[in-house]
Symmetry: C2
Subunit: 417 residues, 2 copies
C-alpha cells in the first residue's frame, strides 16, 4: 500500500509557513507500514488543487490532504475533492448542530460562514473533529482513498489518531513497516564519530545508519524495514548494542530525550542537589534544567555572574584573581564552581566562564574559549573547551558540555578524555 500527502495553502508556497504536517503524517505512516510515494504542496487555487489531487489519486492508494477545510471562500478542499471524485456536495444538518453546540459551550456567537463546513462530498465518510469545528472526510476516488484533514496541526493530529489510523489499519495487512531509533551523543565530533563507525556504516543495510550533527551533539539514527514492529526493534537493538560498544559513554539518550531530563532523573534517584554559576552561558544551563517538570526537587539556585563585580560580589571571587588571571580562566572558573556549591549547600555545582563572541576575543583568549567547572564535596575540576560557531551556538555547546560533565559525574565516568 502506498500513500501520498498533499498540503494545501498559499502561505506554504509563499514560504511564510513551513509544512510540518506532512512530516508528522509520514512518520505515522512509516510505522503503519504504508510507503509514502511523494509529498505535494499547492496553493488555495482550484485548478492546481484539482491537478494535484488527480495526479495523487491516479498513482497512490491513499491520499491524505491537509488544509483548505476552513469556513472562508479560500477553503476549497471540499469542492475540489467532490469534483475529483465526481460527487456532489451534501449538506449535513448534524454537522451544523455539533458546530453550534461547540460555539455555544465556548460562549461565542456562531458565524454564518461556518455553515460552509457542513457540506461534504456525497458517499464520503465523515471524520469528526474532536478539537475544532471543521470535520474531515474520506472519499473513494477510483481505487484511491482520499482522506481530507484540516491544516491546524492539533486538529489534524487528533483526527489522524482517532479515525484515520484505525481506518488505514483496516484497509489491508501491512507487508512491512519502517521504524527508527535515534542514539544521541555529545562530546564527540561528527567526523570522529564517522571514523569510529565507518565499517558498520558501510556494511549495515537493515537497519540503515544516518548521522546528523546539531550544536548539542551528533545523533545516530538506525532505521529498520521489517515485517513487524517487534522485528524492527530486535534488529535495531542488535545494531544498537554494537553502536554502544563503539561509542562508550558518549550516548546519553534515545530519540527525543534531552540531556537536561536525563541528568534530572539521575540527580533525583541519587538524592543529589545542584547549583549553577554561569558567566558566558548567562542562565542557559539553569533555564534548561528548570524546563524539566519536578526540577525543584534537585535544583537549588543559580548565580548568573555576568559582570566581574557580580563574580566577586555574589560568589566571593577575589577581584585580584580576576585581575591577574582574567575572568575567563581556569582559576576563576574553579572559584565560581566551588563557591556556588558551598554557598548553596548543593551536593554539586557547575560553572562556566568564556568568550561567547562575536566580539571580546583575543589571540590568547579567542571567541569560543570556555572553561567549565564541576565541584563536589571532594574536589573541584575545571575543563577547557574551544567551541566553534556563532554566539548562540557557543552558548548552547557550553551548556551541553556542562550538563554532560554532570551526567558523567553522576555515573562515575571519567570527566576528561
Amino acid at each position: 500500500m502506498n500513500a501520498e500527502i498533499v498540503a494545501i495553502g498559499t502561505e506554504l508556497l509563499l514560504g511564510q509557513n513551513v509544512d510540518t504536517n506532512s512530516s508528522w503524517i509520514a512518520r505515522q505512516l512509516a510505522l503503519l507500514g504504508v510507503d509514502v510515494y511523494a509529498f505535494q504542496q499547492v496553493g488555495d487555487n482550484e485548478k492546481r488543487m484539482e491537478e494535484a489531487l488527480k495526479l495523487a489519486c491516479g498513482r497512490s492508494q491513499v491520499v491524505i490532504t491537509t488544509g483548505g477545510l476552513g469556513p472562508t471562500v479560500d477553503d476549497l478542499t471540499r469542492k475540489v475533492a467532490a469534483k475529483v471524485g465526481q460527487k456532489t456536495l451534501v449538506y449535513y444538518e448534524h454537522i451544523v448542530k455539533e458546530m453550534e453546540a461547540r460555539f455555544f459551550r465556548s460562549g461565542r456567537p456562531f458565524p454564518k460562514s461556518n455553515l460552509n463546513q457542513a457540506f461534504i462530498p456525497q458517499t464520503a465518510t465523515i471524520v469528526s473533529n474532536p478539537v475544532g469545528t471543521a470535520p474531515g472526510f474520506i472519499l473513494k476516488v477510483g481505487k484511491s482513498h482520499l482522506i481530507c484533514l484540516p491544516g491546524v496541526p492539533r486538529e489534524m493530529k487528533a483526527m489522524f489518531e482517532a479515525t484515520v489510523k484505525p481506518f488505514l489499519k483496516g484497509l489491508e495487512p501491512a507487508t512491512g513497516i519502517i521504524k527508527s531509533r535515534v542514539y544521541r551523543t555529545t562530546g564527540i565530533s561528527e567526523s570522529r564519530l564517522n571514523e569510529v563507525i565507518a565499517d558498520i556504516f558501510e556494511s549495515s543495510t537493515n537497519p540503515t545508519i544516518g548521522v546528523l550533527a546539531h550544536p548539542e551533539g551528533v545523533d545516530v539514527r538506525l532505521t529498520a524495514k521489517t515485517a513487524t514492529e517487534e522485528e524492527a526493534d530486535k534488529l535495531i537493538d542488535e545494531l544498537g548494542k554494537i553502536l554502544i560498544t563503539r561509542l562508550p559513554n558518549t550516548i546519553y539518550g534515545l530519540n527525543e530525550e534531552e540531556l537536561e531530563s536525563i541528568v534530572g532523573q539521575m540527580l533525583t534517584t541519587r538524592h543529589m542537589t545542584l547549583a549553577t554559576a554561569e558567566s558566558c552561558t548567562g542562565g542557559l544551563i539553569s533555564s534548561r534544567i528548570t524546563k524539566v517538570p519536578g526540577s525543584s526537587n534537585y535544583f537549588l539556585r543559580g548565580y548568573v555572574v555576568y559582570s566581574n563585580e557580580g563574580k566577586s560580589d555574589m560568589l566571593k571571587v577575589d577581584p585580584k584573581l580576576i585581575e591577574k588571571k582574567g575572568a575567563v580562566s581556569a582559576e576563576v572558573c574553579k572559584a565560581l564552581a566551588e563557591n556556588a556549591r558551598t554557598q548553596s549547600g548543593a551536593s554539586v555545582a557547575l560553572s562556566t566562564t568564556g568568550v561567547a563572541g562575536p566580539s571580546g576575543g583575543s589571540a590568547e583568549k579567542p571567541v569560543g574559549l570556555v572553561y567549565i567547572g564541576l565541584s563536589d564535596e571532594s574536589s573541584t575540576q575545571t575543563f577547557k573547551f574551544l567551541f566553534t560557531g556563532e554566539r548562540e551556538v557557543v552558548q548552547m555547546k557550553a551548556s551541553q558540555a556542562a550538563l554532560e560533565l554532570l551526567r558523567r559525574h553522576c555515573l562515575g565516568l571519567p570527566l576528561g578524555d
Copy 2:
C-alpha cells in the same frame, strides 16, 4: 514566470527531516516576482524523481531541485536530470581539480566517490559551490529551466544568492512581486487583536492581513502584491500606520526582531543597567538577554532563586514573609525585584515567581499564576498574570511579559492595563 520546487530525499518522505529549503527558496522567489506553482518532495528513487521532474518541467518555466547531488549511489539528480533533458552526462576535469584543491586545503584525503560529482548533463551551465564540493547546474528542458542545487541548506543558499538569483533576474522582467512585513505584538490575545482589526482585516485586499499566535505574542503579517518592491513598501507602510494606531504600544518589533534585542538596544541608548531575580522562569530571562551580542554592556547579573532558601539567602527575602504569603506572592515578588536592584546596583531589576506546572498548583494559586516585578530607583511595582499552556509555554510567556514590562518602562509607557 512561474516556478516549482522539487525537494529530493527519502528522509523527507520518512518524516525524519522537514523540508525547510523549499520555503526559503519560495520566499526569495516571491521577492523576485516569480509565482510559485507547487512544491513536490520525492525520495531518492529514479522512477519517481523522473516523474516529478517531467511533471514540473511540463508546467513550470523554472524548476528548482534541492538534494541528490552528493557523491553516493543514492544521489541520482545528475542522472535523472540528464534523462529528463535527453542529454548525456559529461565529465568535467576542472570540477575534479576544484574538489581536490578544497580537500587539500582542509587537510583531508580526497575520496574517490567524489568523482561522481564531476559528471554534469551536457549543455548545462555549471553552478559553482562556494562552500562545499557538489556543484549544481542549470539545464534547459523544453521550455523550462531546470536548476539543480544541493540539499545542504548552507550550500544551497550560497549558490542561490551567487548564481541563481542573477540568472532568474536576467530571464524576463518581473511583472510583479510579493513582499510581506510582520508586526510583532505581545500582551494582547489573538481574539482581542482580531476584534480590534476586524474591519481592516475584512476590507484590506492589498496588502492582505494574516494573524499568527505564538507563546511570545501575536504576529500580524501584511503581504502586498505590487509591481515593484518600492510600491509594496509604500502600501505596507500605509496599512502599517493604521495597524499601529489600532494597536497602540503593543507592537514591539518587525519581522524577525526579538524582544530581548529591542530591549537591549533601549537599555544601551539609555545607559541603563539590568539585573534579574528569577524563580519560576529559572534563568530564561537572563538567558534570552545574554543571547544578544553586547549584552554585557547593560546586563550585570541574575539571581536564579529557585528554592525558598535561595530567595532568603541570595536576596534577603524574609523567611517569615515567604511563610506567611507564600513564595508565589506579590510581596515576595516585590522583595526579589527590589533587592536584586539594590544588591546589584543596576538601574532596573526584573523578578518572577509563579507556578509553572504541571504540578504544584492549588485552587488559590493555580498553574500559570505568575507575579512579575519591576524595580527602579523610584518604585517597585508587581503585576499578576495567569498564563495558559504547558510548563515551557508558561515560562516563555512569563519571560516575554517581563521583557515587555521593561520595554514599556524604557519608553515611559504605562506598565499596567
